[in-house]
């Protein structure tokens, strides 16, 4: 059911099985028939590890979404709340429980916190007088969720804000716990590298946790050779730029949630005769996107400009395959043709979907505004005119383009100039506040605190040094047959991935100067292994590096890492982990202030 998780060098199905097992254990603890009441946010992540059938086997008969007032009627013995530890959800649960007590037969209540119990939440339940109603109150440590054969995410939306704005280490603690789980399943990771304040913290926590579990020596042969911990604030630039890979653009335009995307239905209307006219779908078309789909695995990481030719080649291959029927003369040949039909039909369905998606994206990328925006982004990233008010940004504000788009561009300019001149910054701020509302003072402050939007201090712009040393801007980029990671942004090589690349070869010693300019410490730790577990690499065998982005990662960065993994003489293959899969828009949005 999740075969694609085992396609990579590291079999992530092992992790999935482990979390499924824990879920079953919990369900069996509540004997008898059950109904689950879901915190809606959790259904997406849970969908990646379990289907309804698993729950059903453990006597889950009904499922509801968590809503105020009464629970819907259900003839079950147990009611289990699956929730994130958030205070506002506790209020709703209390409402449910209190209105339940007044009628009918008593039922058993349980609560499962994901990923952690919270004493604060339990205190709230107690204050509301319902804490005693729960028989089981447990936690389900769904820290790292396997998304694909080489991708894990904690899907923790608030992680960046908590880490870099509020300096709250809770999500780092979860990250460290997730890494301990991985090590328990895949062996101790002998070397840890890191860059950034949060990376340092996570490494410290891991080392401490390991010390505390000395009782049980891990006897699993290590799968990972290295762990690289990277702070998102070491590279604030990359997520601000528009991703130009196929998957990246789908995410930029439609937003991929838990590997699903919702698309406008028109392009997917059934072309079958007979039902034309009626039954036109009005609900968004929802598609799952992962490497289980052969075609998607092939095109997801390509620059969008290289996708069209692949699709048209596929179309030729598939139509040629269908043409084969003319050559099938004997019954045997026809039988063979027919036996291949299901596979061909799947391929055809997949091709149809991606052709439609590519068309939708093409509509956007060929628009004048997209082109103008991209031009400005590329100017900033290559260091042109970053120190004065940009007329395109001015226009966007005057025409009241979405605030997030404006903020993203202003932040990009600020980051590419190591902060804006005070006069420029004040100008942008005033324009934004007057056009979008004064209450955004709060959001602007958050961006400033995160280092995304700030005045230049000391009058020094470090970005050109970083850009040149790390070769972040490549003038000759080959989008069709890339030779460098810069293809994912058609010219800009993501800083974070460049750091990973340089670490693997020739090592960070070559870029000490730049590492000092970038925020936070860089470090290396070793976790000694017993001699029996030390790896002797075969000649030509690639190392496996687990790279953990603290504060989020974009699909374009993942694409760049996959590109490096596939290089013939690369020497390193990557598995990516993160606190959240994100893009510039969702990132900025997470930093905006909303009413409580």
């Amino acid at each position: 059911m999740a075969a694609h998780l085992s396609y990579g060098r590291v079999n992530l199905n092992v992790l999935r099985e482990a979390v499924r097992r824990e879920l079953r254990e919990f369900l069996d603890k509540c004997a008898g028939s059950k109904a689950i009441v879901w915190d809606e946010y959790l259904t997406g992540p849970f969908g990646l590890i379990a289907q309804y059938s698993l729950l059903k086997e453990h006597e889950v008969e009904k499922m509801f979404t968590l809503k105020g007032s009464r629970l819907p009627a259900a003839d079950v013995k147990n009611i289990i709340f699956f929730v994130r530890p958030r205070l506002e959800l506790m209020d709703i649960i209390a409402e449910n429980v209190l209105s339940e007590d007044r009628r009918g037969p008593a039922r058993d209540f349980h609560i499962l916190f994901v990923p952690r119990r919270s004493l604060l939440c339990e205190q709230r339940l107690k204050d509301l007088g319902v804490l005693g109603s729960f028989i089981h109150r447990e936690e389900y440590s769904l820290d790292l969720i396997p998304f694909d054969g080489d991708l894990l995410s904690m899907e923790s939306e608030g992680a960046f804000k908590e880490c870099y704005l509020e300096s709250d280490q809770t999500s780092l603690y979860h990250a460290a716990k997730g890494l301990m789980t991985l090590q328990a399943l895949y062996g101790t990771i002998p070397q840890i590298f890191g860059k950034g304040e949060c990376a340092r913290q996570v490494a410290n926590m891991m080392i401490r946790m390991k010390r505390e579990f000395t009782g049980s020596q891990n006897s699993i042969f290590p799968v990972f050779d290295n762990l690289l911990l990277l702070d998102r604030n070491v590279d604030l630039l990359t997520p601000l730029a528009t991703q130009l890979t196929y998957e990246g653009l789908i995410d930029e335009i439609y937003g991929i949630q838990n590997s699903f995307v919702k698309l406008p239905p028109e392009k997917f209307a059934s072309k079958k005769q007979g039902d034309s006219g009626k039954d036109l779908p009005t609900e968004a078309k929802k598609l799952q996107l992962n490497s289980a789909e052969e075609l998607y695995a092939e095109i997801r990481d390509k620059n969008f400009n290289a996708v069209g030719s692949v699709l048209s080649k596929k179309a030729k291959v598939i139509s040629a395959a269908f043409e084969e029927r003319h050559n099938a003369k004997t019954v045997g040949e026809i039988k063979q043709f027919v036996s291949q039909l299901p596979h061909m039909q799947a391929a055809r369905g997949s091709l149809a979907n991606h052709t439609s998606i590519a068309e939708l994206i093409k509509d956007v990328t060929t628009s004048e505004d997209f082109f103008d925006k991209l031009t400005v982004e590329q100017e900033f990233m290559s260091g042109i005119d970053t120190d004065k008010v940009n007329s395109y940004i001015e226009d966007c504000i005057a025409q009241k383009h979405p605030l997030i788009k404006v903020l993203r561009l202003v932040c990009l300019q600020s980051v590419c100039n190591s902060g804006l001149k005070q006069k420029v910054l004040d100008y942008y701020k005033r324009e934004i506040l007057q056009t979008y509302g004064f209450e955004h003072i709060l959001t602007l402050h958050n961006l400033e605190k995160a280092g995304l939007l700030k005045p230049q201090t000391g009058g020094r712009n470090n970005y050109p040094t970083i850009r040149k040393t790390l070769r972040l801007w490549m003038d000759d980029v080959n989008e069709q047959n890339p030779t460098d990671i810069s293809y994912v942004y058609s010219g800009y090589a993501p800083l974070s991935v460049r750091l990973a690349q340089l670490l693997s070869r020739p090592g960070w010693r070559s870029i000490e100067e730049v590492l000092r300019i970038l925020p936070g410490p860089h470090f290396e730790e070793r976790q000694p292994l017993p001699t029996g577990l030390q790896k002797k690499r075969q000649p030509g065998e690639n190392r496996i590096t687990l790279i953990f982005f603290l504060g989020g990662v974009t699909f374009a960065e993942i694409a760049a890492l996959r590109f490096l993994s596939q290089l013939e003489d690369g020497g390193t293959e990557y598995v990516v982990a993160t606190t959240k899969l994100m893009n510039g828009a969702s990132w900025i949005e997470s930093l905006m202030e909303k009413p409580f």
Binding site: V19, E22, Y52, P72, L120, A184, K314, E359, Q434
Partner: protein, 492 residues
Amino acid sequence: MNRTKGDEEEYWNSSKFKAFTFDDEDDELSQLKESKRAVNSLRDFVDDDDDDDLERVSWSGEPVGSISWSIKETAGNSVSNHEREQLKSRNSFSSYAPLPKPASTYSLSSFFRGRTRLGSFQSLSDALSDTPAKSYAPELGRPKGEYRDYSSDWSPSDTVRRLQKGKVCSLERFRSLQDKLQLLEEAVSMHDGNVITAVLIFLKRTLSKEILFRELEVRQVALRHLIHFLKEIGDQKLLLDLFRFLDRTEELALSHYREHLNIQDPEKRKEFLKTCISLPFSAEDSAHVQDHYTLLERQIVIEANDRHLESAGQTEIFRKHPRKASILNMPLVTTLFYSCFYHYMEAEGTFSSPVNLKKTFKIPDKQYVLTALAARAKLRAWHDVDALFTTKNWLGYTKKRAPIGFHRVVEILHKNSAPVQILQEYVNLVEDVDTKLNLATKFKCHDVVIDTCRDLKDRQQLLAYRSKVDKGSAEEEKIDALLNSSQIRWKN
């Protein structure tokens, strides 16, 4: 099975499948179109929606059997009958193989929780308040060992460790300040925010504000957790006290200001904003907050007045263009647009006049002209548009000037579907010839294109443009006349 070969031929050839061709040009768009066409033709051929080896998906795209799908299915009210029928019928032949019992014996819980998991139903907060648990189901009674744990004398570090495992632990025994601080330090060194918060709740309850603040000031990690915790539970008062104590004045101001987001009533919100003005913001922000207050104050007056005018039905502008929404809490530029739309002619003295707004909020010329232009163009008040760009010099000559550039004026007019005569006038005012020609072509201002070509002596371009005007039209005649004219020295 005894279908003849001829039948087969017949069958295959009568299918609707059509071959398609590719032009070999590498144009992306045409490639996409090709694959689309190819795919569509294939769709006709294989008239079958059920791809048996694909995951089954309902129309909304949820795989049948996925959790979010099942919520709809078992809750049974958000899915239409029709769809449910469909889903059921699909479901019936999509059999789920019974799940194999996992070969893996790993359980995450065993890694971290140690062997005893029984105590986990007992919560810390009960222990905090020294009330023994009583309402648990009898079959889940605690083993004796738990009672022993409960009463024994744990050190701060043991206590924190137990808290982290979700076990019962009384904190009340830690009475001296020194013990409490040691407890806090142990919690901080574990990095577990949950435990740190638990200890902070205990400290907050048992220490005086002054001592708590003083001790946290030198313990930054714990301090940040307390701030986060206070924000979370909405204890604004203590939070402000804390910022005041720490002398973090700007944070104090912002945190206070933030509260206005939760006040719905406009009068109350206004009063609240008034209290923000004197807060220690930076000079820049201070001005913005002042503006925020002034703006809302204005909006309340305008709103009351205009609602009255609108319902009285005597004012033409409100009859013709009923207001779509209240102006309360709208941004400044939106308010300016509103006042340019409904109150353009008002004297400067009124609260709602555009000029007054411009002065009060020091709105730059550019911003003002853009907004006024958009509002007047929307009303098709071309005379006002004209006046907006007309300046008189000291001799009384009039001159057209636009601080935003006439190309922008043209774009905005076009967006508001201004007639060609009007557009033409402003296209002509665009200084850069290339831009002018582009705009004129884009918006079909034929005369401007023709005249510009003539002035550029660009015969080729004029010739090319001829195909773009209607046959037999005045424009065509004009072009022909020019092309045949011997007076012009064409450059090409």
